[in-house]
Amino acid sequence: MKRDVWSRYKFPLLFISPALLGLILLHLFPMFQGFWLSLLESNKSTIEQYLHAPFVGLANYREILFSSDSQIRQGLWDALRNTVLYTVFVVFGTIVLGIGGALLVHRNFPGRSVARTLMLFSWIIPSYVVGMLWGFMWQQEEGIVNQLLFDRMHLDIITTWFGVHWDYDTLGQLIKPRWLTGENTLWAIIIPTIWRFWPFAMVMFLAGLSSIPSEVYEAAEMDGASKSEQFFQITLPLLRPVLAMIVLQGIISNVYSFNIVSMMFGNGAGFPGKYGDLLMPNIFRNSFQMWNFGVGAAISTLLMLVMVGVVALWYRRFREDLSNE
């Protein structure tokens, strides 16, 4: 029987073997190597020994979790808080804009194809370019964001009607918001990320919308369901499998986000500040840039374990939506 299976499938197996080999070499092998590295005292002095550096057991994990002197803990909790907020806001914003955009271009109207193509524009820009571009756009005086909001739209005057207070200098000039320093920095990285990724969500939702039979809506209309009832009772539930994938993809890519922050703040030359730092740039700076590979591998392993937990929660929440039954 086994011989039969082998002789029957050996050709397909031969073709999938490179992919399997690639998976082992590029995913599993480095993962185990990373874990092993986290148990070693791997730093500048021992890097030549690589995987034969002195074994220190769980010392690197103890350093991260309990040593207040550890370099890796410089700003780690700030980065963790920012990463959680960043991920939540980006995933939420991406989904809202994605569904909105998909509903808009799902309808028939002249120039729909052009509109769909144009809406994909921000997605095709590499994330490091997005980081650099928005770094310029957020500048207080010369950035296009403040120029649009305050020099053109006079947002300060409009919002004053609603009781918002603005500061003016001694010459009576408005002091525009600073996006690249202080608490606003978090928004300075969230907004470009949503801008970059929402077309992806839109494409996914559009595919989901196309697969919903129109008869379902016709039946709902005959039953007297309003448009909002159709959206919440039909569209949204039927889009849950797509939603599940976007949530998962959003969580993973945003927790591991690096490019936008790194490029916006000087391609590694700068520091994003207390409110702009994320886990990945923090780990990169405090471990790998500091040649603390063992500790860096340990914190990466810890993060991976947390993410396994997050993915397990996600699966529990969306399991039914992903099954075929």
Partner: protein
Amino acid sequence: MSERQHLQFHGFRKVMLRVVLVGLAFLLLSCRQDAPTGQTRITIWVLPNFPDPQRDMEKLVKTFTLEHPGIEVEITVLDWGSAWTKITTAATAQNGPDLIQLGSTWTAAVTEMGALVPLDSLLLRMGGENAFVEAGMESARPRASDSVTSLPWFLDVRPMYYRKDVLAKMGISPDSIQNWDDFVRALTAIREAKPVVEGNLVLPIGYPGKNDWNVIHNMAPWIWGAGGDFLDSTATHSAIAEPASIRGILFYLNLVRQGFNERRNLEKNTAQVSSDFDEGRLAFWLDATTKTIYLDRPQFLGGTGKSAAARNYACMLPPTSPDGHARYFVGGSNLAIFKFSKHRPEAMLLLEYLVGRPDIQQQMSRASGFLPALRETYDMPYFRENHDRQVFQRMVQQGRAYPSVHYWGEIETSILSRRLGNIFDLITAAKPGEWPEDKVIQEIRATDTEITRYIAQQLDHSPGLRERLQSWHRRHP
């Protein structure tokens, strides 16, 4: 499946299998491209030193390949952002080029990894340490090393660019700006007069605040000028919170407080503030000597052409502190040979050609704007007969480099850039009229603690390092 179909299928499988095997064979063969028979190919990794990094570097080694027909030089230009990772990976994996360009602050770290060939005999043949500028040799022989492991290729100093027309309009002679007090007087005059030249309001000075490697290089001369330093003379403790260092930092920051440099510049990078100077909006600007290449070039070659700044700029020495201290930052790059190189004699020849020949050093300087490390080059008319290049030469002679210890790179890129970034954040976040001096000093003290703690960890991790550094200190009191 009929027998005929079965045979056809088997035939198809055989053909496919052959196609795959032949493809793999081609792939494997194409991975290695040998030099023509009888020729030795040496590889060199360089950084983007020139306006056209690949072609200008090829021009630089052209004479070498003509003089050594048996040697072929393969040039790879690395990007600054990824170069450090690629170089250290090559050093640890023992697989990479024969010859390597190292930023002057990288040499000690790569030396500590035991990856570089000692070059003492080559240095001796080239006339010893005196053949090169002193500040360049600091990084060539790292403090913890007994040997010279790289040779200085070119130097990088930061002169003060100024607008001759603006100073003339203010009635200020450039020669009158000698020390910090003179400098503040000149800046005050410009701030008060608000000169408008060719439609542009000219502001006194500009410098960037964060998101830039240059932030620390820009601050160094003011700290050193005040008599302070980043590390103590043994390079085992931070000195950044010493009163003199704090005085230097505060003087530099006060240029913002007094309204000479606008706060909004602090969220810009060097390229952006530099373009403000190019476009005629700044009277003073500190930058690398490479800027002269762009200012002197026509627009169609990527320069600034005939802009107001290009027509009216000149360079001067940055002012000294009131008590006459003048130590300028000297950076640059060195060339080294990896121990795993299979073509050491040929790599040595190329190294000697690039660093040891005044004609080639001058050619490099003309093309890149960087300065020669070889002293003899400064005797050439190109340097002797030009005012700005005379200024550069004086800076090189009076300049100093960061301590050549293997942990400096992390202190600079990770601790100082973050902490100084915090300082600039404190300033930009302060309300107009407020100046967060106490918080700035607090941040400097935190930087001091972090650096000293980091060095202590490094000394603990590297047995014998403390003794080697003390030994260096005894030899260089």
